[in-house]
Amino acid sequence: MTPLIEVRDLIKQFPGVRAVDGVSFTLGAGTCFGLLGPNGAGKTTTVEMIEGITPPTSGSVLYKGEPLGQRFKLEAGIQFQSTALQDFITVRENLRLFRSFYPRGMELDALIALCSLGEFLDRDARKLSGGQRQRLLLALALVNDPDILFLDEPTTGLDPQARRNFWDLVREIRARGKTILLTTHYMEEAYVLCDRIAIMDRGKIVAEAAPDALLKQHGCATLDEVFLKLTGHELKD
Protein backbone atom coordinates (compact mmCIF):
# COMPACT_ATOMS: atom_id res chain seq x y z
CA MET A 1 0.00 0.00 0.00
CA THR A 2 1.34 3.44 -0.94
CA PRO A 3 2.16 5.51 2.14
CA LEU A 4 0.38 8.83 2.48
CA ILE A 5 3.68 10.66 2.85
CA GLU A 6 7.09 9.37 1.88
CA VAL A 7 10.11 11.45 2.85
CA ARG A 8 13.41 10.51 1.20
CA ASP A 9 16.78 11.75 2.39
CA LEU A 10 15.77 15.37 2.98
CA ILE A 11 18.65 17.80 3.39
CA LYS A 12 18.45 21.52 4.08
CA GLN A 13 21.68 23.44 4.03
CA PHE A 14 21.73 27.06 5.20
CA PRO A 15 24.92 29.13 5.00
CA GLY A 16 27.22 27.62 7.61
CA VAL A 17 24.72 25.15 9.04
CA ARG A 18 23.02 21.95 7.91
CA ALA A 19 19.60 22.27 9.54
CA VAL A 20 18.28 18.94 8.25
CA ASP A 21 20.66 16.13 7.43
CA GLY A 22 19.25 13.18 5.54
CA VAL A 23 15.81 12.71 7.08
CA SER A 24 13.71 9.82 5.73
CA PHE A 25 10.48 8.27 6.95
CA THR A 26 7.07 7.20 5.74
CA LEU A 27 3.68 8.07 7.11
CA GLY A 28 0.73 5.73 6.73
CA ALA A 29 -2.87 6.89 6.48
CA GLY A 30 -4.71 7.31 9.76
CA THR A 31 -1.64 7.52 11.98
CA CYS A 32 -0.41 10.27 14.24
CA PHE A 33 3.32 10.68 13.70
CA GLY A 34 5.37 12.78 16.08
CA LEU A 35 8.62 14.57 15.30
CA LEU A 36 10.15 15.09 18.70
CA GLY A 37 13.19 17.11 19.55
CA PRO A 38 14.56 20.19 21.30
CA ASN A 39 14.33 23.69 19.87
CA GLY A 40 16.72 23.97 16.93
CA ALA A 41 16.71 20.22 16.19
CA GLY A 42 15.39 20.85 12.65
CA LYS A 43 11.77 19.79 13.24
CA THR A 44 10.13 22.90 11.78
CA THR A 45 12.50 23.02 8.78
CA THR A 46 11.77 19.35 8.11
CA VAL A 47 8.03 19.74 8.34
CA GLU A 48 8.04 22.90 6.20
CA MET A 49 9.91 21.01 3.48
CA ILE A 50 7.29 18.26 3.69
CA GLU A 51 4.55 20.90 3.48
CA GLY A 52 6.14 22.40 0.36
CA ILE A 53 6.71 25.74 2.08
CA THR A 54 10.51 25.54 2.13
CA PRO A 55 12.40 24.04 -0.81
CA PRO A 56 14.84 21.27 0.22
CA THR A 57 18.49 21.46 -0.76
CA SER A 58 18.13 17.82 -1.82
CA GLY A 59 15.83 14.89 -1.24
CA SER A 60 12.19 14.41 -2.10
CA VAL A 61 8.71 14.27 -0.64
CA LEU A 62 5.91 12.21 -2.17
CA TYR A 63 2.25 12.61 -1.29
CA LYS A 64 0.15 9.56 -2.21
CA GLY A 65 3.05 8.51 -4.43
CA GLU A 66 3.25 11.81 -6.32
CA PRO A 67 5.45 14.89 -5.96
CA LEU A 68 3.83 17.75 -4.01
CA GLY A 69 1.45 19.80 -6.12
CA GLN A 70 -2.01 21.30 -6.26
CA ARG A 71 -3.59 18.05 -5.01
CA PHE A 72 -1.51 18.22 -1.86
CA LYS A 73 -2.55 21.85 -1.26
CA LEU A 74 -6.20 20.88 -1.59
CA GLU A 75 -5.95 17.88 0.74
CA ALA A 76 -3.51 19.11 3.41
CA GLY A 77 -4.28 21.18 6.50
CA ILE A 78 -1.45 23.13 8.12
CA GLN A 79 -1.09 24.83 11.48
CA PHE A 80 2.21 26.68 11.59
CA GLN A 81 4.19 27.30 14.74
CA SER A 82 3.31 30.99 14.52
CA THR A 83 0.78 32.54 12.19
CA ALA A 84 -0.56 36.07 12.10
CA LEU A 85 -3.99 36.81 10.69
CA GLN A 86 -5.31 40.01 9.19
CA ASP A 87 -6.08 42.80 11.65
CA PHE A 88 -9.70 43.74 12.42
CA ILE A 89 -11.07 40.46 11.03
CA THR A 90 -13.34 38.32 13.19
CA VAL A 91 -13.15 34.59 13.82
CA ARG A 92 -16.19 33.99 11.58
CA GLU A 93 -14.73 36.08 8.73
CA ASN A 94 -11.41 34.24 8.95
CA LEU A 95 -13.19 30.89 8.76
CA ARG A 96 -15.23 32.02 5.74
CA LEU A 97 -12.13 33.40 4.01
CA PHE A 98 -10.14 30.19 4.36
CA ARG A 99 -13.16 28.03 3.51
CA SER A 100 -13.53 29.97 0.24
CA PHE A 101 -10.05 28.82 -0.85
CA TYR A 102 -11.17 25.19 -1.19
CA PRO A 103 -13.76 23.60 -3.47
CA ARG A 104 -14.75 21.14 -0.74
CA GLY A 105 -14.43 21.08 3.01
CA MET A 106 -16.15 20.93 6.36
CA GLU A 107 -19.43 22.65 7.07
CA LEU A 108 -18.55 25.74 9.07
CA ASP A 109 -21.11 24.95 11.78
CA ALA A 110 -19.57 21.53 12.36
CA LEU A 111 -16.08 23.02 12.41
CA ILE A 112 -17.13 25.72 14.88
CA ALA A 113 -18.63 23.07 17.14
CA LEU A 114 -15.60 20.77 16.85
CA CYS A 115 -13.15 23.53 17.81
CA SER A 116 -15.48 25.19 20.34
CA LEU A 117 -15.38 28.57 18.62
CA GLY A 118 -19.06 29.42 19.03
CA GLU A 119 -18.63 31.83 21.94
CA PHE A 120 -16.33 34.25 20.15
CA LEU A 121 -17.26 34.02 16.48
CA ASP A 122 -17.68 37.78 16.14
CA ARG A 123 -14.55 38.68 18.09
CA ASP A 124 -11.54 40.27 16.40
CA ALA A 125 -9.02 37.41 16.11
CA ARG A 126 -6.36 39.59 17.75
CA LYS A 127 -8.40 39.65 20.96
CA LEU A 128 -8.45 35.88 21.52
CA SER A 129 -6.59 34.19 24.35
CA GLY A 130 -3.69 31.85 23.53
CA GLY A 131 -5.84 28.72 23.72
CA GLN A 132 -8.71 30.26 21.75
CA ARG A 133 -6.29 31.43 19.11
CA GLN A 134 -4.74 27.97 18.73
CA ARG A 135 -8.24 26.48 18.34
CA LEU A 136 -8.98 29.02 15.60
CA LEU A 137 -5.71 28.20 13.81
CA LEU A 138 -6.54 24.51 14.07
CA ALA A 139 -10.01 25.19 12.65
CA LEU A 140 -8.40 27.03 9.72
CA ALA A 141 -6.20 23.98 9.15
CA LEU A 142 -9.26 21.72 9.20
CA VAL A 143 -11.47 23.93 7.02
CA ASN A 144 -10.86 21.81 3.89
CA ASP A 145 -11.50 18.54 5.77
CA PRO A 146 -7.89 17.52 5.06
CA ASP A 147 -6.56 14.00 4.58
CA ILE A 148 -3.38 14.99 6.38
CA LEU A 149 -2.99 17.55 9.15
CA PHE A 150 0.33 19.19 10.08
CA LEU A 151 0.56 20.58 13.60
CA ASP A 152 3.83 22.41 14.28
CA GLU A 153 4.37 22.96 18.02
CA PRO A 154 0.65 23.65 18.47
CA THR A 155 0.71 23.91 22.27
CA THR A 156 3.87 25.96 22.77
CA GLY A 157 3.10 28.87 25.05
CA LEU A 158 -0.22 27.50 26.30
CA ASP A 159 -0.93 27.00 29.97
CA PRO A 160 -1.28 23.35 31.16
CA GLN A 161 -5.09 23.41 31.09
CA ALA A 162 -5.27 24.91 27.59
CA ARG A 163 -2.66 22.36 26.45
CA ARG A 164 -4.73 19.44 27.75
CA ASN A 165 -7.87 20.87 26.13
CA PHE A 166 -5.97 21.03 22.85
CA TRP A 167 -4.86 17.41 23.27
CA ASP A 168 -8.52 16.38 23.66
CA LEU A 169 -9.27 18.17 20.41
CA VAL A 170 -6.43 16.41 18.58
CA ARG A 171 -7.65 13.06 19.92
CA GLU A 172 -11.10 13.82 18.53
CA ILE A 173 -9.62 14.64 15.12
CA ARG A 174 -7.59 11.42 15.25
CA ALA A 175 -10.77 9.51 16.02
CA ARG A 176 -12.20 10.83 12.75
CA GLY A 177 -9.46 8.95 10.90
CA LYS A 178 -7.25 11.91 10.01
CA THR A 179 -3.53 11.47 9.51
CA ILE A 180 -1.52 13.83 11.69
CA LEU A 181 2.10 14.92 11.62
CA LEU A 182 2.86 16.62 14.92
CA THR A 183 6.08 18.37 15.89
CA THR A 184 6.64 19.03 19.55
CA HIS A 185 9.33 19.35 22.17
CA TYR A 186 6.97 18.15 24.91
CA MET A 187 7.67 14.45 25.58
CA GLU A 188 4.34 13.94 27.32
CA GLU A 189 2.47 15.42 24.38
CA ALA A 190 4.20 13.07 21.95
CA TYR A 191 3.59 10.12 24.22
CA VAL A 192 -0.15 10.65 24.70
CA LEU A 193 -0.99 11.69 21.13
CA CYS A 194 1.30 9.80 18.74
CA ASP A 195 1.24 6.25 17.38
CA ARG A 196 4.80 6.60 16.22
CA ILE A 197 7.61 8.95 17.15
CA ALA A 198 10.80 10.04 15.43
CA ILE A 199 13.32 11.68 17.74
CA MET A 200 15.34 14.40 16.03
CA ASP A 201 18.62 15.90 17.16
CA ARG A 202 20.90 18.23 15.20
CA GLY A 203 19.06 17.68 11.94
CA LYS A 204 19.00 13.88 12.07
CA ILE A 205 16.47 11.28 13.17
CA VAL A 206 18.20 9.32 15.93
CA ALA A 207 15.36 6.89 16.71
CA GLU A 208 11.96 6.04 15.31
CA ALA A 209 9.34 3.69 16.78
CA ALA A 210 6.06 3.55 18.68
CA PRO A 211 6.35 5.39 22.06
CA ASP A 212 6.16 2.23 24.20
CA ALA A 213 8.52 0.39 21.87
CA LEU A 214 11.07 3.19 22.28
CA LEU A 215 10.86 2.91 26.07
CA LYS A 216 11.23 -0.85 25.91
CA GLN A 217 14.11 -0.82 23.40
CA HIS A 218 16.16 1.54 25.55
CA GLY A 219 15.02 0.29 28.92
CA CYS A 220 13.79 3.70 30.02
CA ALA A 221 10.76 4.87 31.99
CA THR A 222 10.20 8.12 30.09
CA LEU A 223 10.89 9.56 26.66
CA ASP A 224 13.12 12.18 28.33
CA GLU A 225 15.40 9.36 29.47
CA VAL A 226 15.36 7.88 25.97
CA PHE A 227 16.38 11.23 24.53
CA LEU A 228 19.19 11.64 27.06
CA LYS A 229 20.47 8.14 26.36
CA LEU A 230 20.43 8.65 22.60
CA THR A 231 21.88 12.16 22.40
CA GLY A 232 23.87 12.59 25.59
CA HIS A 233 22.05 15.81 26.44
CA GLU A 234 18.72 16.68 27.92
CA LEU A 235 15.63 17.79 26.09
CA LYS A 236 14.95 21.19 27.55
CA ASP A 237 11.45 22.59 27.79
Binding site: E51, G52, I53, T54, Q70, K73, L74, A76, I78, F80, S82, T83, A84, L85, Q86, D87, F88, I89, E93, R96, L97, F98, S100, F101, Y102, L140
Partner: protein, 342 residues
Amino acid sequence: MDLRRYLAVLHVRNLEFLRDRGTFGWNVALPLVLVLGIAFVFSGQGRPLFKVGVLAPPGVSAAVAAAPHLGDQYIQFIMVDDAATATTKVERHQLDMLIDVRDPTALRYWVNPSSPRGYALERMLDGGHPPGWERGAISGREVRYVDWLVPGILGMNMMFSCLFGVGYVIVRYRKSGYLKRLYATPLTAIEFLAAQVTSRLMLTLAITVVVFVATDLLLDFYMLGRWIDLLVITALGAISMISLGLLVASRVTSEELAGGLLNVLTWPMMLLSGVWFSMEGTPQVLQWAAQMLPLTHMLTGARAIMLDGKSLLDLWPQVAALTAISVGSLSLGAWWFRWRVD
Protein backbone atom coordinates in the same frame (compact mmCIF):
# COMPACT_ATOMS: atom_id res chain seq x y z
CA MET B 1 -7.82 32.57 -11.68
CA ASP B 2 -10.54 31.50 -9.25
CA LEU B 3 -13.05 34.34 -8.92
CA ARG B 4 -14.39 33.09 -5.59
CA ARG B 5 -10.99 33.15 -3.92
CA TYR B 6 -10.19 36.56 -5.45
CA LEU B 7 -13.46 38.08 -4.20
CA ALA B 8 -13.00 36.59 -0.71
CA VAL B 9 -9.53 38.13 -0.33
CA LEU B 10 -10.80 41.43 -1.76
CA HIS B 11 -13.70 41.51 0.71
CA VAL B 12 -11.53 40.82 3.74
CA ARG B 13 -8.93 43.38 2.70
CA ASN B 14 -11.66 46.01 2.29
CA LEU B 15 -13.00 45.16 5.75
CA GLU B 16 -9.53 45.47 7.25
CA PHE B 17 -9.07 48.93 5.73
CA LEU B 18 -12.51 50.26 6.57
CA ARG B 19 -12.34 49.03 10.19
CA ASP B 20 -8.96 50.65 10.74
CA ARG B 21 -10.56 53.95 11.70
CA GLY B 22 -7.29 55.79 12.21
CA THR B 23 -5.97 55.02 8.74
CA PHE B 24 -9.34 55.52 7.10
CA GLY B 25 -9.92 58.85 8.85
CA TRP B 26 -6.45 60.08 7.97
CA ASN B 27 -6.95 59.18 4.29
CA VAL B 28 -10.11 61.29 4.19
CA ALA B 29 -9.19 64.11 6.57
CA LEU B 30 -5.74 65.02 5.21
CA PRO B 31 -6.78 65.98 1.65
CA LEU B 32 -9.97 67.62 2.90
CA VAL B 33 -8.12 69.83 5.36
CA LEU B 34 -5.37 70.64 2.85
CA VAL B 35 -7.74 71.66 0.04
CA LEU B 36 -9.97 73.74 2.28
CA GLY B 37 -7.04 75.25 4.15
CA ILE B 38 -5.24 76.31 1.00
CA ALA B 39 -8.46 77.64 -0.52
CA PHE B 40 -8.95 79.73 2.61
CA VAL B 41 -5.38 81.02 2.67
CA PHE B 42 -5.48 82.04 -1.00
CA SER B 43 -9.10 83.23 -1.08
CA GLY B 44 -10.46 86.79 -1.43
CA GLN B 45 -9.24 89.34 -3.99
CA GLY B 46 -5.97 87.58 -4.42
CA ARG B 47 -2.71 88.30 -2.80
CA PRO B 48 -1.18 91.67 -3.70
CA LEU B 49 1.63 91.41 -6.21
CA PHE B 50 3.61 94.34 -4.85
CA LYS B 51 4.29 96.04 -1.55
CA VAL B 52 4.84 99.79 -1.74
CA GLY B 53 5.80 101.99 1.19
CA VAL B 54 4.22 105.46 1.08
CA LEU B 55 5.43 108.67 2.72
CA ALA B 56 2.20 110.75 2.58
CA PRO B 57 0.99 114.06 4.04
CA PRO B 58 -0.55 113.76 7.52
CA GLY B 59 -4.21 112.69 7.50
CA VAL B 60 -4.11 111.15 4.02
CA SER B 61 -4.18 107.37 3.69
CA ALA B 62 -1.38 105.61 1.83
CA ALA B 63 -3.74 104.17 -0.79
CA VAL B 64 -5.40 107.50 -1.54
CA ALA B 65 -2.09 109.29 -1.74
CA ALA B 66 -0.41 106.74 -4.01
CA ALA B 67 -3.26 105.55 -6.23
CA PRO B 68 -3.07 108.39 -8.78
CA HIS B 69 0.44 107.32 -9.63
CA LEU B 70 0.32 103.51 -9.46
CA GLY B 71 -3.36 102.55 -9.64
CA ASP B 72 -5.08 100.68 -6.85
CA GLN B 73 -5.07 97.01 -7.84
CA TYR B 74 -2.69 94.22 -6.87
CA ILE B 75 -0.59 96.64 -4.80
CA GLN B 76 -0.49 96.73 -1.05
CA PHE B 77 0.25 100.29 0.07
CA ILE B 78 1.86 100.60 3.44
CA MET B 79 2.06 103.94 5.25
CA VAL B 80 5.54 104.64 6.56
CA ASP B 81 6.72 107.50 8.78
CA ASP B 82 10.42 107.11 8.78
CA ALA B 83 12.14 107.38 5.39
CA ALA B 84 15.39 105.86 6.66
CA THR B 85 13.71 102.73 7.99
CA ALA B 86 11.65 102.40 4.84
CA THR B 87 14.67 102.68 2.53
CA THR B 88 16.33 99.92 4.52
CA LYS B 89 13.30 97.76 3.83
CA VAL B 90 13.63 98.50 0.10
CA GLU B 91 17.27 97.58 0.33
CA ARG B 92 16.29 94.21 1.84
CA HIS B 93 13.43 93.59 -0.65
CA GLN B 94 10.92 93.78 2.19
CA LEU B 95 9.33 96.66 0.28
CA ASP B 96 9.33 96.63 -3.53
CA MET B 97 9.24 100.43 -3.76
CA LEU B 98 9.08 103.50 -1.55
CA ILE B 99 7.32 106.62 -2.81
CA ASP B 100 7.30 110.07 -1.26
CA VAL B 101 4.18 112.12 -2.12
CA ARG B 102 4.36 114.54 0.79
CA ASP B 103 5.25 117.44 -1.54
CA PRO B 104 3.26 117.31 -4.86
CA THR B 105 5.91 119.43 -6.52
CA ALA B 106 8.78 117.14 -5.54
CA LEU B 107 7.57 113.56 -5.98
CA ARG B 108 10.25 110.95 -5.36
CA TYR B 109 10.56 107.16 -5.41
CA TRP B 110 13.18 104.59 -4.48
CA VAL B 111 13.63 101.09 -5.88
CA ASN B 112 16.30 98.46 -5.53
CA PRO B 113 17.71 97.90 -9.07
CA SER B 114 18.25 94.24 -8.29
CA SER B 115 14.56 93.69 -7.45
CA PRO B 116 12.42 92.33 -10.34
CA ARG B 117 9.29 93.62 -8.61
CA GLY B 118 10.88 97.04 -8.20
CA TYR B 119 11.65 97.07 -11.93
CA ALA B 120 8.06 96.25 -12.79
CA LEU B 121 6.72 98.91 -10.46
CA GLU B 122 9.07 101.48 -11.95
CA ARG B 123 7.66 100.70 -15.41
CA MET B 124 4.16 101.14 -14.02
CA LEU B 125 5.10 104.47 -12.53
CA ASP B 126 6.41 105.59 -15.93
CA GLY B 127 2.95 105.30 -17.34
CA GLY B 128 2.16 101.92 -18.88
CA HIS B 129 0.22 103.49 -21.74
CA PRO B 130 2.64 103.74 -24.69
CA PRO B 131 1.44 106.01 -27.47
CA GLY B 132 0.09 104.37 -30.65
CA TRP B 133 -1.21 101.23 -28.87
CA GLU B 134 -4.83 100.42 -28.39
CA ARG B 135 -5.73 98.63 -25.21
CA GLY B 136 -7.79 95.39 -25.48
CA ALA B 137 -9.62 93.82 -22.54
CA ILE B 138 -10.33 90.12 -22.09
CA SER B 139 -12.81 88.86 -19.56
CA GLY B 140 -13.11 85.35 -18.18
CA ARG B 141 -13.31 83.36 -15.04
CA GLU B 142 -10.22 83.41 -12.96
CA VAL B 143 -8.27 80.18 -12.46
CA ARG B 144 -7.46 80.36 -8.79
CA TYR B 145 -4.44 78.79 -7.21
CA VAL B 146 -6.71 76.26 -5.51
CA ASP B 147 -8.10 75.20 -8.92
CA TRP B 148 -4.57 74.48 -10.06
CA LEU B 149 -3.55 72.93 -6.76
CA VAL B 150 -6.46 70.58 -6.06
CA PRO B 151 -5.26 67.81 -8.44
CA GLY B 152 -1.84 68.07 -6.79
CA ILE B 153 -3.15 67.65 -3.26
CA LEU B 154 -5.50 64.80 -4.12
CA GLY B 155 -2.78 63.18 -6.24
CA MET B 156 -0.30 63.43 -3.39
CA ASN B 157 -2.79 61.81 -1.02
CA MET B 158 -3.41 59.05 -3.54
CA MET B 159 0.31 58.54 -3.94
CA PHE B 160 0.80 57.94 -0.21
CA SER B 161 -2.30 55.76 0.02
CA CYS B 162 -1.36 53.63 -3.00
CA LEU B 163 2.35 53.20 -2.29
CA PHE B 164 2.30 52.78 1.47
CA GLY B 165 -1.17 51.23 1.65
CA VAL B 166 -0.11 48.35 -0.58
CA GLY B 167 3.66 48.16 -0.18
CA TYR B 168 3.80 48.46 3.57
CA VAL B 169 0.82 46.17 4.16
CA ILE B 170 2.20 43.34 2.03
CA VAL B 171 5.58 43.54 3.76
CA ARG B 172 3.76 43.40 7.13
CA TYR B 173 1.79 40.35 5.97
CA ARG B 174 5.01 38.65 4.88
CA LYS B 175 6.92 39.49 8.04
CA SER B 176 4.11 38.31 10.30
CA GLY B 177 3.82 34.96 8.50
CA TYR B 178 0.32 35.64 7.13
CA LEU B 179 1.54 35.27 3.53
CA LYS B 180 3.16 31.95 4.44
CA ARG B 181 -0.19 30.76 5.80
CA LEU B 182 -1.92 31.80 2.57
CA TYR B 183 0.78 30.05 0.54
CA ALA B 184 -0.22 26.79 2.23
CA THR B 185 -3.68 27.11 0.63
CA PRO B 186 -4.61 26.82 -3.05
CA LEU B 187 -4.73 30.65 -3.33
CA THR B 188 -2.45 31.80 -6.16
CA ALA B 189 -0.18 34.85 -6.23
CA ILE B 190 -2.19 36.37 -9.06
CA GLU B 191 -5.44 36.03 -7.10
CA PHE B 192 -3.88 37.54 -3.99
CA LEU B 193 -2.17 40.41 -5.80
CA ALA B 194 -5.18 41.19 -7.98
CA ALA B 195 -7.33 41.45 -4.84
CA GLN B 196 -4.82 43.81 -3.20
CA VAL B 197 -4.70 46.06 -6.28
CA THR B 198 -8.48 46.10 -6.68
CA SER B 199 -9.13 46.79 -3.01
CA ARG B 200 -6.72 49.70 -2.84
CA LEU B 201 -7.94 51.10 -6.17
CA MET B 202 -11.60 50.98 -5.09
CA LEU B 203 -10.96 52.58 -1.72
CA THR B 204 -8.53 55.23 -2.96
CA LEU B 205 -10.80 56.24 -5.83
CA ALA B 206 -13.85 56.33 -3.55
CA ILE B 207 -12.10 58.54 -1.01
CA THR B 208 -10.69 60.83 -3.72
CA VAL B 209 -14.08 61.22 -5.41
CA VAL B 210 -15.80 61.96 -2.08
CA VAL B 211 -13.20 64.55 -1.10
CA PHE B 212 -13.23 66.13 -4.58
CA VAL B 213 -17.03 66.36 -4.73
CA ALA B 214 -17.28 67.69 -1.18
CA THR B 215 -14.68 70.40 -1.73
CA ASP B 216 -16.10 71.20 -5.18
CA LEU B 217 -19.49 71.93 -3.61
CA LEU B 218 -17.78 74.46 -1.36
CA LEU B 219 -15.21 75.91 -3.75
CA ASP B 220 -16.67 75.34 -7.24
CA PHE B 221 -13.51 74.19 -9.01
CA TYR B 222 -12.66 75.25 -12.54
CA MET B 223 -13.68 72.31 -14.76
CA LEU B 224 -13.67 72.56 -18.54
CA GLY B 225 -13.21 68.88 -19.44
CA ARG B 226 -15.31 65.76 -18.94
CA TRP B 227 -15.69 64.17 -15.52
CA ILE B 228 -15.32 60.67 -16.94
CA ASP B 229 -11.93 61.60 -18.46
CA LEU B 230 -10.82 62.94 -15.09
CA LEU B 231 -11.91 59.71 -13.40
CA VAL B 232 -10.10 57.55 -15.96
CA ILE B 233 -6.80 59.44 -15.72
CA THR B 234 -7.08 59.35 -11.92
CA ALA B 235 -7.73 55.59 -11.94
CA LEU B 236 -4.79 55.02 -14.29
CA GLY B 237 -2.57 57.07 -12.00
CA ALA B 238 -3.75 55.11 -8.96
CA ILE B 239 -3.12 51.76 -10.66
CA SER B 240 0.38 52.81 -11.69
CA MET B 241 1.26 53.88 -8.15
CA ILE B 242 -0.28 50.74 -6.59
CA SER B 243 1.80 48.70 -9.04
CA LEU B 244 4.94 50.50 -7.93
CA GLY B 245 4.01 49.72 -4.32
CA LEU B 246 3.60 46.04 -5.22
CA LEU B 247 6.96 46.02 -6.95
CA VAL B 248 8.67 47.44 -3.86
CA ALA B 249 6.86 44.91 -1.63
CA SER B 250 7.42 41.90 -3.87
CA ARG B 251 10.34 40.54 -1.84
CA VAL B 252 11.18 42.95 0.96
CA THR B 253 10.82 41.47 4.44
CA SER B 254 11.60 44.50 6.60
CA GLU B 255 9.11 47.30 7.17
CA GLU B 256 12.01 49.71 7.73
CA LEU B 257 13.54 48.89 4.35
CA ALA B 258 10.13 49.08 2.69
CA GLY B 259 9.57 52.50 4.27
CA GLY B 260 12.94 53.71 2.98
CA LEU B 261 12.32 52.42 -0.53
CA LEU B 262 8.84 53.93 -0.61
CA ASN B 263 10.27 57.26 0.51
CA VAL B 264 12.73 57.09 -2.37
CA LEU B 265 9.69 57.00 -4.63
CA THR B 266 7.46 59.50 -2.84
CA TRP B 267 9.90 62.35 -2.23
CA PRO B 268 10.88 62.85 -5.89
CA MET B 269 7.20 62.82 -6.77
CA MET B 270 6.43 65.37 -4.04
CA LEU B 271 9.13 67.67 -5.37
CA LEU B 272 9.22 67.07 -9.13
CA SER B 273 5.72 66.02 -10.20
CA GLY B 274 4.18 69.48 -9.89
CA VAL B 275 2.17 68.94 -6.72
CA TRP B 276 2.73 72.46 -5.36
CA PHE B 277 4.21 74.42 -8.26
CA SER B 278 4.68 74.09 -11.99
CA MET B 279 7.94 72.59 -13.20
CA GLU B 280 8.03 75.03 -16.14
CA GLY B 281 11.26 76.97 -16.11
CA THR B 282 13.12 74.43 -13.98
CA PRO B 283 16.33 72.84 -15.34
CA GLN B 284 15.71 70.44 -18.22
CA VAL B 285 17.25 67.52 -16.37
CA LEU B 286 14.64 67.86 -13.60
CA GLN B 287 11.85 67.97 -16.15
CA TRP B 288 13.18 64.79 -17.73
CA ALA B 289 13.39 63.14 -14.32
CA ALA B 290 9.80 64.17 -13.63
CA GLN B 291 8.67 62.31 -16.75
CA MET B 292 9.78 59.04 -15.11
CA LEU B 293 7.25 59.52 -12.30
CA PRO B 294 3.61 58.40 -12.55
CA LEU B 295 2.31 61.29 -10.46
CA THR B 296 3.68 63.75 -13.05
CA HIS B 297 1.61 62.17 -15.81
CA MET B 298 -1.49 61.91 -13.66
CA LEU B 299 -1.31 65.57 -12.58
CA THR B 300 -0.49 66.82 -16.09
CA GLY B 301 -3.49 64.91 -17.39
CA ALA B 302 -5.86 65.96 -14.61
CA ARG B 303 -4.95 69.66 -14.93
CA ALA B 304 -5.23 69.53 -18.71
CA ILE B 305 -8.74 68.08 -18.38
CA MET B 306 -9.86 70.47 -15.65
CA LEU B 307 -8.22 73.72 -16.72
CA ASP B 308 -7.79 73.34 -20.49
CA GLY B 309 -10.74 71.09 -21.34
CA LYS B 310 -8.55 68.39 -22.92
CA SER B 311 -9.85 64.89 -23.61
CA LEU B 312 -8.18 61.53 -23.06
CA LEU B 313 -7.37 61.41 -26.77
CA ASP B 314 -5.42 64.65 -26.43
CA LEU B 315 -3.64 63.14 -23.44
CA TRP B 316 -2.47 59.93 -25.08
CA PRO B 317 1.17 60.45 -24.04
CA GLN B 318 0.12 60.56 -20.37
CA VAL B 319 -2.27 57.61 -20.79
CA ALA B 320 0.47 55.61 -22.53
CA ALA B 321 3.06 56.45 -19.87
CA LEU B 322 0.76 55.47 -16.98
CA THR B 323 -0.24 52.24 -18.74
CA ALA B 324 3.39 51.36 -19.39
CA ILE B 325 4.37 52.01 -15.75
CA SER B 326 1.42 49.91 -14.54
CA VAL B 327 2.02 46.95 -16.84
CA GLY B 328 5.78 46.98 -16.26
CA SER B 329 5.58 47.24 -12.46
CA LEU B 330 2.75 44.71 -12.09
CA SER B 331 4.46 42.15 -14.30
CA LEU B 332 7.81 42.55 -12.58
CA GLY B 333 6.20 42.59 -9.12
CA ALA B 334 4.14 39.44 -9.77
CA TRP B 335 7.17 37.63 -11.20
CA TRP B 336 9.36 38.65 -8.27
CA PHE B 337 6.73 38.09 -5.59
CA ARG B 338 7.61 35.81 -2.67
CA TRP B 339 5.15 34.56 -0.07
CA ARG B 340 7.60 33.76 2.68
CA VAL B 341 10.65 35.15 4.41
CA ASP B 342 13.61 33.22 2.99
